[in-house]
Assembly symmetry: C2
Homo-oligomer: 110 residues x 2
């Protein structure tokens, strides 16, 4: 099985479903510093990255944004002084799909 | 009195205080679409800007960030697909200072 960051993003269909608990647990084990947070009943995959300046945080935001555009899968990016918080989830499945864990793994490689 | 977006950002001192209710109300009346939101007891000045794409939202985030760097006063910027949410507040006064309303007015002019 390829490592998460080398896995292909799957094209979603109307029958695509959120990852189950076992899969989420397995994927999360391949990541470092990410947590799953339920926001209004929607699971999101979250990590806060810290930096020394506002500009460094913004640079990281822009890198994640470029990754998002490349794969046409877009996170929420909160940029503050010295930190960027990245949240991945999949609107159409109402929570987390394998794709979100793949994007998190690719975020780690930036 | 100069309009808010033309007002000078004030240098803060250890005795600087948050704006009072009357001043906040007067400043807010000079702005369009901004609201005051209390987050864990800290007043923040918030506006959500909407766009047609993720990239347009990111472009706006970068413009607000450049403004923030210019004035050395930094907001929280939440970038999502088609929207950027801007939050201004002043950490050292534990809420909103006139500076935050000035920055909001300057944000409006971007």
């Amino acid at each position: 099985m390829p490592e998460l960051h080398e896995s292909q993003i799957e094209t979603l269909h109307k029958n695509s479903q959120a990852a189950n608990q076992d899969d989420m647990h397995a994927y999360l084990n391949e990541l470092s510093g990410w947590r799953i947070e339920s926001v209004a009943g929607i699971n999101q995959l979250v990590k806060q990255y810290t930096f020394d300046t506002f500009v460094s945080a913004l640079d990281f935001t822009n890198k994640v944004a470029a990754l998002a555009e490349e794969f046409n899968h877009h996170p929420a990016l909160l940029t503050e002084w010295g930190k960027t918080t990245v949240r991945w989830w999949t609107h159409s499945v109402g929570g987390l799909h394998k794709n979100d864990f793949i994007m998190a793994a690719r975020t780690e490689k930036l």
